[in-house]
């Protein structure tokens, strides 16, 4: 009797094309539990109005909600702050931060 392994049920091309998305999906599903590090610690990014930082275990964590920021010394609402990439400066390397409503933020960062 011929023994057919699971590997032989899928042609090699199919195996190679299915593996990366399957692995990525699995990682995304499991990332909430922590076993798959999906980011590099200290990385930052914008997700909607939130600034997120990658923690020491490789998980994204929200640190600032730009939509909830108020402008010091002015009225309660002058337009919404937004999350944007910002260049390196004396405070640290390039990253992401909340920027005031009057600044324009596009894919290339704050202007």
């Amino acid at each position: 009797m011929t023994h057919i392994t699971k590997r032989e049920l899928l042609p090699s091309r199919a195996r190679s094309s299915l593996f990366p998305p399957l692995f990525t999906s699995l990682c995304i599903l499991l990332s909430a539990c922590g076993p798959c590090a999906l980011c590099t610690p200290q990385q930052t990014r914008c997700v909607g109005s939130f600034v997120e930082v990658c923690d020491a275990d490789g998980r994204w964590r929200s640190t600032e909600d730009c939509a909830a920021i108020i402008t010091e010394g002015s009225g309660p609402w002058e337009g919404a702050w937004k999350c944007c990439s910002v260049p390196a400066d004396e405070l640290g390397p390039e990253g992401h931060s909340c920027v005031p409503p009057e600044l324009t933020c596009d894919g290339g960062g704050v202007r």
Partner: protein, 235 residues
């Protein structure tokens, strides 16, 4: 949930996002008015009324003396530092190594205001996430604890900027987390979070809920404590 007083300061102003509102800041900003004992007492009373918190004298509290002993035996922090310098918030009880309104060499009047806001930010975190979830993550997840602390220290960034127009150094703030059982990698992440916060603060933003409450009170009752007041600007 305990914290020490700040140490290092950074000279004022930024580069790219410098707002025109800040252009009046000279290289030698005027000193804002000194803080009075009455202001500190009134501020603490207002914050406690707003959050429903109570203060406890830390050095004499039996539970804190026991905790100090345990932490010292574990090598986390020495007894004197924990009892005499650090504040600790558990639930709605804030254990203080000073009496609000009475300045000491270790606890200036302004630092007592900053401590009040920082500790109430921990109350905000607990309210936001729920007592059990917050406690479990704070005690059981070092990466989460680092970011809770960074969030509370953001209050210090915000208040220092309001008072002086200068930024505290994110790295110096992150270094103060060393006594909390964190890894070096956690401190680096806390610094990354504080850098992001410092950029927002420099652009004129107020991030934390406790600082929003605090500044509302300070602008109304003690605007002279802010640097913009001495600069002739709005507070």
């Amino acid at each position: 949930m305990s914290s020490q007083k700040p140490s290092t300061f950074e000279s004022p102003l930024p580069s790219s996002q410098r707002s025109s509102k800040r252009s009046s800041l000279t290289s030698q900003p005027q000193r804002p008015a000194p803080v009075t004992s009455e202001q500190v007492k009134a501020f603490w009373e207002a914050m406690q009324a707003r959050y429903g918190t109570q203060t406890v004298d830390k050095p004499s509290a039996p539970e804190m003396r026991l905790l100090a002993y345990v932490l010292a035996r574990m090598g986390v922090t020495d007894r004197e530092t924990f009892l005499e310098l650090e504040s600790t918030t558990i639930g709605r009880r804030i254990y203080l190594p000073f009496t609000p309104g009475i300045a000491t060499p270790q606890h200036s009047l302004w630092s007592q205001i900053v401590t009040c806001v920082r500790e109430h930010q921990h109350v905000e975190q607990r309210d936001r996430e729920g007592a059990w979830r917050f406690t479990a993550r704070y005690l059981g997840d070092r990466a989460a604890r680092a970011l809770y602390k960074a969030d509370a220290y953001t209050c210090e960034l915000e208040l220092h900027y309001w008072r002086t127009g200068a930024l505290l150094k994110p790295r110096a703030l992150a270094e103060r987390l060393k006594g909390y059982g964190l890894r070096d990698a956690d401190l680096n992440v806390a610094e990354a979070a504080l850098i992001a916060a410092a950029r927002t603060v420099r652009a004129g933003g107020v991030i934390t809920s406790a600082t929003k409450v605090a500044l509302t009170w300070l602008r109304k009752h003690a605007p002279e404590l802010g640097f913009k007041h001495t600069q002739g600007g709005e507070t």
